[in-house]
């Protein structure tokens, strides 16, 4: 008799731990071949609330770590992901119905995306900050600073790259993240959270929820503790609704084209300018 596999239970990732949804709900994910794969959690607004609390608590420590330290940790994520390539490839094949070759390219690009953003952590203010030549005996410098808690609606497909491409630039600068995975292709996001949990990423810096976008989006939009949102995984209409309600605390809301760019990091930062007299 052939061996029976031990199937994985997919839970949420909040505060560095893996809880089920407080609502107890799940939903079914079938593979591209219509076979059952898993019942990931169907996150509720309370799970979102808890995720934001965890993200807020983790933000200060993460933002105040040295840029070098953050860069090392993002690189470590890449190292651990590399070791687990096969697991991701299998998952993507089952979910998206693509060939191993295509899945492998996606996984490698995801790993290289972590490496790319890792190298940005300690170069942001060299490139985007400045010492400003004001007219007067003043030292005047501008330096970018992380925003706080950023919510992300990950791209739907590619299922793994769409998560990494939106997540890495948000946390590189010291923001913490609450990522809502693609509703139809959520599993790689959770497997990624296993990588994050073992890569020295402090608990709460990244929180990952799976569930219904239509249910969670309004709560993200209205949450006063969320400072920024990447709307990649939302429809145009959902984006507009979010912007309407997000205006209440002037959330910084953006949709980016699916490429890597330092602007994706800087968009979720604030530029601070400091003056100091020069004299005896």
């Amino acid at each position: 008799m052939s061996r029976i596999d031990v199937n994985k239970t997919y839970k949420l990732f909040i505060g560095g731990a893996f809880p089920r949804s407080e609502s107890g709900r799940v939903y079914e994910i079938k593979g591209n071949n219509k076979k059952f794969i898993a019942n990931p959690a169907l996150a509720s607004r309370k799970d979102l609330r808890d995720a934001v609390v965890a993200a807020k608590a983790a933000h200060s420590g993460w933002a105040n770590a040295t840029a070098f330290n953050r860069g090392q940790i993002l690189y470590r994520v890449a190292e651990i992901m590399q070791g687990r390539s096969d697991q991701f490839i299998d998952e993507i094949c089952a979910l998206e119905g693509v060939t191993t070759k295509v899945a492998k390219v996606q996984v490698e690009e995801a790993i290289d995306t972590w490496v790319w953003y890792s190298g940005w952590c300690d170069k942001l203010s060299s490139v985007s900050g400045s010492l400003n030549q004001v007219s007067g005996p003043f030292y005047n410098f501008t330096t970018p600073e992380a925003l706080g808690v950023v919510a992300i609606f990950a791209e739907n497909k590619p299922s793994l790259l769409g998560v990494v491409r939106t997540l890495a630039p948000v946390i590189a600068s010291g923001n913490s993240a609450v990522l809502i995975a693609s509703e139809s292709y959520p599993l790689p996001a959770i497997t990624l959270s296993e990588v994050l949990a073992t890569s020295d990423v402090p608990g709460g810096v990244v929180n990952i929820l799976t569930g219904k976008i239509t249910e969670l989006a309004p709560w993200v939009g209205s949450h006063m503790e969320i400072d920024g949102v990447d709307v990649a995984g939302l429809s145009k209409k959902q984006e507009e609704e979010l912007k309407l309600v997000g205006a209440d605390n002037l959330k910084r809301i953006f949709r980016f084209s699916p490429t890597n760019h330092p602007e994706r990091i800087l968009s979720f930062m604030e530029q601070k300018t400091v003056w100091h007299p020069i004299g005896l």
Partner: protein
């Protein structure tokens, strides 16, 4: 024991597998020098021979440069930038993995305390590779033009004071920018460079991208004068730096030079005194004073001079001089007999010219090269010990009355590498920073280095910067400077 005497706390040598001999590292392999010549490298704390290394002459240099050129043309310049960066990340990680081994070998070969190799040299070297690995595929954003190009093959010559760290300062940006290199470590400290060659092999770095050629000043000159080198990067004495500048004057070669210094460490009357004392001690006694940016002139505001000097002397008597392999040693061995003689000769002019010498009591070991931490008071600008770089644990103490006078004295030198400013008043610090003619200004701190922070000097302290965005410029073709 009637008092708290620290028992011997030796770091174990067992982790260091130093081979009895090493060849030159050319084209990804260790090869014997063509003429089969070699020379010894010793432990300056004990004078025992550590290993025998190859002596590279013109023929070997030629082989190395050819290897670097082939690697550049056929492999390195064609490789996608992000893959180039990944080699540098691998090197950084391997250095971190083998950190303890490198620290022990560095201390044995150089004479610096194991605490320094372990806590400063090696971690910073790894950090340099990590930092520059991130630039490899982001050069478009460095503010140096879009799609900047590497210069080609770079000849690099490094000093003996921070062997592995200086190697990292040279190789990391060069490779990140897309160049290949031929590097000559200092004659008295070749070992960590040769271990580094092994790291390149472990990282799978393509053959010829990095070549290590051990030798002496003649080897260095052969490298500088080789016709197929596009650029020279040199750290060492101002004298040799000028010789290099002359050598390349009729060529298309560019050069960056990190040369000598005679930095002023200015202590104002409103300084945080206890921390300033630490800064003074760190400024001149860190690494036995073998630091180009050492705070070798203390300029203390006259109205606090007595208090500062009294506290300084008390603090100096806590400096532990001795076995560099002991984890509690603060001041290690002088790197060579030659350097020791140089320190003695210049310091003796201090006595001869009328300054007052003071050292705490310390027991110096009988074998090896040693100099006690020393200060000279009653020094004026005209004394040799106030003008010449001693490159040893000797501090010249001068006073100033007003901030303007302090700045004038600080700037009154042909050097301009670094300076220190100690004051609790922010605007005064910024004012002093504005007036000082130095490439690196440390306020309320000293001897701080970071791969993200550009380092380099004004005037005869050299050309160009290393580290940070500015440090990349030296390894990329200028958008506008013509070379012949």
């Amino acid at each position: 024991m009637s008092s708290f005497e620290y028992a011997n706390a030796p770091e174990s040598k067992a982790i260091a597998n130093i081979a009895t001999s090493y060849g030159l590292f050319i084209g990804g392999k260790f090869v014997e020098p063509k003429k089969g010549k070699s020379f010894n490298t010793i432990n300056p704390a004990t004078e025992e021979i550590l290993s025998k290394v190859g002596y590279a002459d013109k023929l070997d240099i030629d082989l190395a440069v050819k290897s670097a050129r082939t690697a550049f043309t056929k492999v390195w310049s064609k490789m996608p930038a992000k893959e180039r960066g990944k080699y540098l990340y691998r090197i950084a990680r391997i250095l971190q993995e083998r950190a303890r081994e490198f620290a022990v070998v560095e201390t044995l070969d150089n004479g610096k305390p194991i605490r320094e190799s372990r806590d400063t040299d090696i971690p910073l070297a790894a950090a340099h590779f990590f930092y520059h690995a991130g630039w490899a595929d982001k050069l478009d954003y460095a503010g140096l033009g879009s799609k900047p190009k590497p210069v080609g093959v770079v000849g690099q010559i490094i000093p003996w004071n921070f062997p592995l760290l200086m190697l990292a300062w040279k190789i990391a940006p060069a490779l990140a920018a897309g160049n290949t290199v031929v590097l000559k470590p200092a004659e008295t400290t070749p070992l960590t460079a040769l271990l580094f060659a092994q790291v390149c092999q472990q990282a799978g770095l393509p053959d010829g991208v990095v070549n290590i050629v051990t030798g002496d000043g003649i080897t260095g000159a052969a490298l500088v004068n080789h016709s197929d080198i596009n650029k020279i990067a040199f750290t060492g004495s101002t004298e040799v730096g000028k010789a290099i500048a002359r050598s390349i004057s009729s060529t298309k070669k560019s050069a960056t030079l990190e040369l000598g210094g005679k930095a002023a460490n200015l202590v104002f009357d409103d300084a945080a005194i206890d921390e300033a004392i630490e800064g003074i001690v760190n400024g001149i006694f860190f690494n036995q004073g073998h630091v180009c940016c050492a705070g070798s002139r203390l300029l203390v505001q006259e109205n606090v001079a007595d208090e500062v000097l009294e506290k300084l002397k008390k603090r100096m008597s806590l400096i532990r001089v001795g076995d560099p392999m002991d984890k509690n040693t603060d001041l290690g061995a002088i790197n060579s007999a030659e350097q020791l003689k140089r320190i003695q000769d210049i310091s003796n002019t201090g006595d001869a010219e009328g300054a007052s010498r003071w050292s705490p009591d310390c027991k110096l070991p009988s074998k090896g090269f040693w100099y006690p931490p020393t200060i000279f008071t009653g020094v004026s600008q005209s004394h040799r010990i106030a003008r010449d770089e001693i490159f040893g644990p000797v501090l010249s103490v001068l006073t100033f009355r007003t901030p303007a006078e302090g700045i004038e004295k600080a700037n009154n030198t042909m050097y301009g590498l670094s300076a220190g400013v100690w004051s609790d008043k922010g605007s005064k610090i910024l004012w002093a920073a504005k007036q000082l003619k130095a490439g690196v200004i440390w306020s309320n701190t000293f001897n701080k280095f970071d791969p993200a922070s550009p380092f380099g000097g004004y005037k005869e302290s050299g050309w160009g910067r290393e580290g940070g965005r500015h440090g990349l410029a030296g390894y990329l073709t200028s958008q506008v400077k013509e070379s012949k």
